[in-house]
């Protein structure tokens, strides 16, 4: 008999808002965090726009000590620490870190694609200059993939499983489901889960070279065609971190915690890079299976879904994703649920995309609103042929929400899907 799992805390570091208040306001107002970057221009990037959270020196010192910030060059770890600590405080669990002993009941799954790229670049240069002894004592912990989770566990005294998962754009959704499983199986009471991604040219360069980013709007960062639009021609790379506290439902109810939502269940699968799937393109049958397995595991029928937070990147793949949703849910036209994509407002935050988008999804569910799709008109004709355009809000929509679904599809043909319900 599996335990029920609740979301009792959220933390967010996003290009359009740091902290829940600022982020929610940005969602409601459709505020974009996509900005021009002179650094990318000077480095001859095709896409010279990026999404980078704005964090002052003062704010950094609220979360990390001066000693920790010495020679610190890992934006991803900074984002993770801010989002993670905020989630713990949001869940009213800050007292946990005051204990003398490790919290055997608190675990962490905080994923990333790669950690501390700027620090690693510094290390690589020093090594190549035959100066390895100048790396300093924190080069390893800033660049190891589990760095974010390790920094967090030191701050919080987490004593259950502390680890980093990695599944490209699905990392944040997968992190949530891994944490969910651990609580459902009775192996932990609290799981701090999420994912993070560094900002800057060394993370974003590979995507620029792959020519999946939008290079046509360097002069107009506020007008980039958004996901599902007819003019969508590539995404803008982003960065940041999203964090959530998952908690044993009985424990949450007993201590009077605010319950944002219940995690009903989900599914993770892979397209095996077959059936049209490749390293960078999805296998549609696998996507539909992932969605259907998530529904089955959650005991939810397709008609129960009020709203979809899509993966929807602002590339030529968007119409295929919409088609997959219509097929998986067997719903189309006016019967299709409401849908939006956060990537129009914050860019594609890569390994952090799913976690940032999950925080946005849970906020909408909890507060009964749907944020607008940025620059989505004119709609891609293939999409308007499949679903009613009224289901793609272009302004904030206030509407009661009960059951929502979030899916993420990543490089490597990875798929992850989770279903939340307000209780």
């Amino acid at each position: 008999m599996k335990n029920r799992v609740a979301i009792t805390g959220l933390g967010i570091v996003a290009p359009n808002g740091v902290g829940l208040t600022e982020f929610q306001k940005a969602l409601e107002e459709g505020t974009s965090g996509i900005r021009f970057s002179p650094e990318l221009r000077d480095l001859n990037f095709s896409c010279q726009l990026g999404g980078e959270p704005i964090i002052s020196e003062e704010k950094k010192h609220q979360y990390l000590t001066s000693l920790q910030l010495r020679n610190f060059k890992s934006s991803g770890i900074l984002y993770a620490v801010i989002a993670g600590i905020d989630a713990v405080n949001d869940a009213n669990l800050s007292h946990l870190s005051e204990s003398e002993d490790p919290n055997w009941d608190l675990g962490i799954v905080f994923g990333t694609g790669i950690s501390g790229v700027e620090k690693f670049r510094e290390a690589i240069h020093r090594i190549d200059d035959k100066n390895v002894r100048r790396l300093g004592s924190t080069s390893v912990i800033q660049t190891m993939a589990s760095g974010a989770s390790a920094y967090l566990s030191g701050i919080l005294g987490a004593g259950n499983m502390v680890t980093a998962n990695s599944s490209a754009c699905a990392t944040g959704t997968e992190a949530l489901l891994l944490g969910y499983e651990r609580i459902a199986n009775g192996q932990a009471t609290y799981m701090l889960c999420g994912s993070t991604s560094d900002c800057g040219p060394y993370i974003w360069g590979g995507f620029d070279a792959l020519k999946v980013t939008n290079y046509k709007h360097n002069d107009s960062p506020q007008n980039v065609p958004g996901p599902m639009s007819a003019h969508a021609s590539g995404f803008i790379p982003g960065s940041g971190a999203g964090a959530y506290i998952l908690e044993n439902m009985d424990n949450a109810i007993k201590r009077g915690a605010t319950i944002y939502a219940e995690v009903l269940g989900g599914a993770i699968n892979n397209g095996g890079q077959k059936g049209g799937g490749s390293m960078t393109a999805p296998n549609s049958i696998a996507i539909q299976k992932c969605i259907n397995d998530a529904l089955k595991n959650s005991n939810v029928s397709p008609s129960d879904i009020d709203y979809i937070n899509g993966h929807l990147t602002g590339t030529i793949k968007d119409p295929d994703e919409i088609e997959n949703w219509t097929l998986a849910l067997n719903r189309k036209q006016k019967d299709f649920p409401y849908i939006n994509s956060l990537k129009g407002l914050v860019g594609h935050c890569l390994a952090a995309s799913a976690s940032i988008e999950i925080v946005a999804s849970v906020l909408q569910l909890h507060n009964n609103f749907i944020f607008p799709n940025s620059h989505v008109l004119p709609l891609h004709p293939k999409i308007s042929a499949l679903i009613d355009p009224a289901k793609i809000p272009t302004k904030k929509k206030t509407i009661p929400l009960k059951t929502i679904i979030k899916a993420s599809f990543g490089f490597g043909d990875v798929n992850a899907c989770v279903i939340f319900r307000k209780i």
Partner: protein, 84 residues
């Protein structure tokens, strides 16, 4: 440079690495870096880099083997730059 001069320059370097619950006036010549000042031994490599920069010296791996008290560090620096 006298040992006193060295100690004066060394104190702020060590101070950076003190844990939050250890005050800077705890730094004396006889202080044991790890056991009394509670400095995480992982930071010893950073202290060495800072010393090399401040005193313009080179510290070899063997030199770090006797790195227990502040006095050890002063002696090491002294041997590298010669005393006045």
């Amino acid at each position: 440079m006298t040992p006193e001069d060295i100690f004066t320059k060394l104190q702020p370097i060590i101070q950076v690495y003190l844990p939050e619950d250890v005050a800077v006036d705890n730094i004396h010549l006889e202080s044991d870096l790890a056991r009394e000042l509670n400095i995480n031994s992982a930071y010893f490599v950073d202290i060495v880099l800072d010393i090399e920069d401040e005193f313009d010296i080179a510290v070899a791996n063997e030199d770090m083997e006797r790195f227990e008290t502040v006095k050890d560090v002063v002696t090491l620096i002294q041997s590298k730059i010669g005393s006045v």
